[in-house]
Structures are given as C-alpha cells and as structure tokens.
C-alpha cells in the first residue's frame, strides 16, 4: 500500500464521517438535555429531500440548505411537542418521525416532480462545490504533509469544514458556557434546574432545536454535497450509526469526532477490499466492516471497554411536582 492509497482512504473517511458527525453532535445536544432522539435518521432524510428539492427548483444550493434545515427543524418541533410538551414517549415519537419522513419525502417528491420519489439531478449552483483550500497546490511539494493537506484536508464541500468546526463549538457551548451547564444539568437532574428558576421546557426545546439544525446540515450534505439529488431512503441507516457513535463516544464531543472518523474509516475500507487484503494478508468480508460499528457499540454497552452511562434523566419527560 502506498501513500497515495492511504490519502485516498483518509479522503473518503472524511467524506463518510461528515454526515455521521453532524448527526452524532445533533444527538449529543438532544440527549445531553434528556431527550432521546431515535428520529435522527428521519430528520436527515427529510432534510436531504427538502434541500435537494428546493435546490433543484431554485437553482441555489444555499436556499436548499436553509429549506433542509427548515424541514429538519419542523420534525424537531414535532418531537419536542410530543415528548416535552405532551410528555409522550420519546422513543415512540422518534420512530414515528422516521416513518413519517421516509414516507412523506417519497410522496411529496412524487407529487412535485413525478419522477418516482426522486428529485431531478442537481447541476451547477444547485450543488455544493468542492472547495480548494488556500495554498493547497503550492504546498503539495512539501513532503508527506503537503499531499495530505492538498488531498485530504482540502477539496471538500464547505459543509465538511462546518461539521469539523462544530466539534470544538459543541465542546465550548456545552462545557464552557452557562447555557451548556444548564443544558447538561437538565439532562441529569431537571428538578434542580427547575428549582434554580430556569425553564426546563425552554432548555429542552433549545436542545431539540439545535439537534434539528445539525441534522438539517447532515441531510443537505448527503443530497447536495455528496450526491446530486435525492433518492428514496438515501440516508441508508446513517442516523442509526450516528446513535451508535454517540454511545461509543459516551456523549462527549471530541470522542464523537473520534468515533465518527473511526466509523467513517470502516466505510472507506469497505470500498477498498484490496487494501485490507494487502495489509492483513487475508480476505476480510466487506459485510464484517459494515457491521463493525454496531458490534463495537454492543461491546461498549456491555461494559467491556469502560462504561457508557447515558444522561441520568434521559428518556423521561419532566413532570413538575405539585
């Protein structure tokens, strides 16, 4: 295996990790505030459809992005109303959102475009272009790091960099601001937050809203960054792998980056069976690689490698004592 192959794998890793990372951070905000969100998948799918549809009609990918975020926020609001305001079961609400999004996206796509639940292929300004970072070409001559910068770091759509920036931002917001402290507290002991005179409902809605925003970006990246249009069920379980990554990362932002990059690497290696064979000396079934994220999550959950403790008040609607 040569260096160029390695670079290609890292390049692919970063692309595949981005939607996972965004969805994982979305889940992080929501779950840290005590709202389990199994509906990440549905939100990604709705956003993927909406951003592709609006980008196809308007020809502007940015309008598409905002529309995608809007669709995802609408589903978030639904989740919030069901599970915060009406104190419904968060898992059921999440599952409902997944079904709703999968069905609605195809139905609406069919009635708008008549192409069987697809959007037309996006062209030109309807897609996120690959961004060449400054000095990418001139630094290529630098040994080792030059090609790494030019091939792996540079040359992605802007949403990849947004996703990477979200990691330190999430860390800062959650662990260095008053809002973050309260948000984490509301996921551990909402009664204490309430006693302190801070609105539990307000904080939880804020968290669910941030979750919707990030899922919206993830969906837009799938349909307008990685692809050029929406195809039914195109999220292909990425929302669930993001949940697995979240558990794997034990609900911490930097670990989330690591987990998503690891899962992205598995995805990238799946495309290169020849490399695995060259490195290990024997053939590994691609299916094993696609199952690995789930296997590792089960191992973590079983407590073999440290312990994954979810936020204590997670999954429970907050009821004020009377």
């Amino acid at each position: 295996m040569d260096y160029a192959t390695l670079l290609q794998i890292f390049d692919s890793t970063l692309r595949l990790a981005t939607p996972l990372l965004l969805a994982c951070l979305a889940g992080l905000f929501s779950e840290r505030a005590g709202i389990f969100d199994i509906g990440l998948e549905g939100k990604i799918l709705a956003a993927a459809f909406m951003s592709a549809a609006v980008a196809a009609v308007s020809g502007s990918v940015w309008l598409g992005l905002f529309a995608g975020i809007g669709a995802s926020l609408a589903l978030s609001a639904l989740h919030g109303v069901a599970s915060i305001t009406f104190r419904g079961n968060q898992l059921i609400s999440g599952v409902a959102i997944n079904f709703l999004a999968a069905g609605l996206a195809v139905l609406v796509a069919q009635s708008w475009f008549g192409q069987g639940g697809r959007t037309p292929a996006l062209i030109g300004a309807g897609r996120f272009e690959e961004l060449a970072l400054p000095f990418a070409e001139s630094l290529r001559a630098v040994p080792v790091l030059g090609p790494f910068y030019a091939d792996v770091i540079s040359g992605h759509s802007i949403l990849v960099y947004v996703a990477l920036l979200c990691v330190p931002m999430t860390w800062y917001v959650l662990f260095r601001t008053r809002f973050g402290l309260r948000l984490r507290a509301v996921g551990e002991n909402p009664a204490a937050v309430d006693t302190a005179g801070v609105s539990v409902v307000g904080l939880r809605f804020a968290a669910v809203g941030i979750c919707g925003l990030l899922c919206g970006i993830a969906g837009a990246y799938l349909s307008t960054g990685l692809n050029a249009g929406f195809v039914k069920d195109m999220s292909a379980g990425r929302g669930f792998i993001a949940l697995a990554a979240l558990i794997f990362a034990k609900w911490r932002p930097w670990y989330a980056l690591g987990a998503c990059l690891l899962f992205g690497l598995f995805g990238a290696l799946e495309s290169r069976p020849d490399v695995i064979e060259a490195v290990l000396g024997f053939k590994v079934q691609a299916q094993l690689l696609s199952a690995l994220p789930y296997i590792m999550t089960v191992v973590i959950l079983a407590g073999f490698v440290g312990k994954a403790v979810p936020p204590r008040a997670g999954g429970e609607p907050y009821v004020k004592e009377r």
Partner: protein, 331 residues
Amino acid sequence: MTLMKSLLGAAASLALTAGAALADPAIVFDLGGKFDKSFNEAAFNGAKKWAEETGGSYREIEMQSEAQREQALRRLAETGSNPVVMTGFAFGSVLGEVAPDYPDTDFVIIDMVVDQPNVTSVVFTEHEGSYLVGYMAAQASKNNTVGFIGGMDIPLIRRFACGYAQGAKAANPDTKVIANMTGTTPAAWNDPVKGGELTKAQISQGADVVYAAAGGTGVGVLQAAADAGALSIGVDSNQNGMHPGKVLTSMMKRVDVAVYDAFTAGTEQPGGVKVLNLAAEGVGYAMDENNAELVSADMQATVDAIAAKIIDGEITVHDYMSDESCPALNF
C-alpha cells in the same frame, strides 16, 4: 400452507373463473420502485406500452418491504388478476409457495426460475450483454483498468460482473477489473452515497470506465464518474441520457419486452422457462445521440461482430450462476 388459506384461495379462484377471460393483468414491482431508472422502470415501460396500445388497464403494486411479497401476490390472485407478473429474483421462494394455491392464475416471474405448472419464468442472459459492454469498456479505457459496482451481492449480480470481466479481458488481456458490491441487504439498491464513494475509490485505483449494476445506487455511481471525468456504463434501461457524453453505453435488459409479451399473451402463458438472450434481443447495448461521440464506428463494428459470434455460439460466455464461479474475476 394452512387449509384455511387453500380453501379461501380455491373459493376465490372458483368465483372468478367465470370472468377469467376478461381479467386484467397485474404487475408487482420489486423494492427499487417503479421509477428506479433501471430494472423496475423498464418493466413499468413495458406495461405502459401494452396499456397504450391495447387500451387495456392493469393493476400494479410496488413493494415497500420484504414482508409484503406473499400478501401482494395473494391479493392480486384472489381479486382475479391474470396473469400476475412480478419483477425480481426475490419473489422466487414466495411464488413457489403461492402458485400451487391458485392453479387457475398464470404467474410470470422475471429474473428467476420457479418450477410450477402455472408459472412462466423469464430469464435474461445478462452475462452476454455484460460481456459486450465489458468489451467496449476495455476498448474505451486508457488506463487498462475498468470498474464494476454491483448492488446487493447475489448470484445474479455476480453474473453481470463475471460477464463484464470476461468481455473486458477478451478485448485486452491486460485489463484490470475492479469489482465491488454495495452491500448484502436490499438497502444496497438505494444507497447512491456509497455508490459514489465506491466509484471514487475505483477511480483512484485507475479505473476510467465504471459499470453500475446496482439499481438506484447506480445514480450515485454515474454521478461520481461524471464528476470525476470518468466514463460510466448504465444498466437495464437506457441510462445514456442521465449524463450525456459521460455515459459510454448502457447494458440493455429488455424487461419491458418481457412484461409486454406477458401482458399480450394474457391467460395463454407458455409456461416453463423463457430465455431472452442476445439472439432474442433480450439483452444488448444502447446507442443513441448521447453516446454517439464516445463510441466510434470502429468500436461499434467490433462489438457487433462479437455479438454475432456469441449468437453463433463461436464465443461462449461463462455464466456465473451455472457453477458459482468465474474464470475472469475473483470475488
């Protein structure tokens, strides 16, 4: 099969025997959906053509999940649709159980052989069509490397891959063939993101022509290839127009003809196995204005000569499904 079900089925078929001659045909589309721009869409086009020409009407069901297969077949048979046409290998085992319960209904299954007296099985020689496009791919490749991306890893898709690899090696023995499958679940037919990623990986290994036999996943393959300036090959339907000038050709599988013929035959189905091969024009490669500049007259003449040799039996293309192995490609 429970007695109750058999009784119900018998009662229903008895009740409908009188109107059988007037029964409408029905078609069941597999999970990709009838607008997958590929396999199911070809079937849909055949049904549409029949309806336009005869003015008749037909019933259709699109599968949404694996669990619906048996239900859909029974519902159509019990409501008197005849013949019932289904697209896709995945109906095979279900049809084997359902068909004996409705002896008066004719079933037609595409892409799979089911041995029942009232079932007509239509199969295509995809390896022959794939051989032709593989030959063209190797001719068009500048790096002597061509790629193949399959959808779900099943013997049928390996048959595509194997024929393609044989064709590519026949055109140029030094050609390297890189083959990847998208996955092992039906979700692999609808994952354009992964399709695109596989395409980029193959292009980085030097492939400059990529053949997608992957249903909806192929949309991502064709897109990624067009973005990277590589050529791609479509499948089942004519996909040349999806990226004009970037799609070398499409391996046509005339599912539309199969459905049209089945609908036209009505209740007079021949039964048995019907093989639509190169000679019967069941498979072939697509030429139109979108790829006219990519395929030189020279290339076309060579490929047509190869096709003639396959029809004559001078060239035999190995069928992966005959012995689950491929001489030209190692899975």
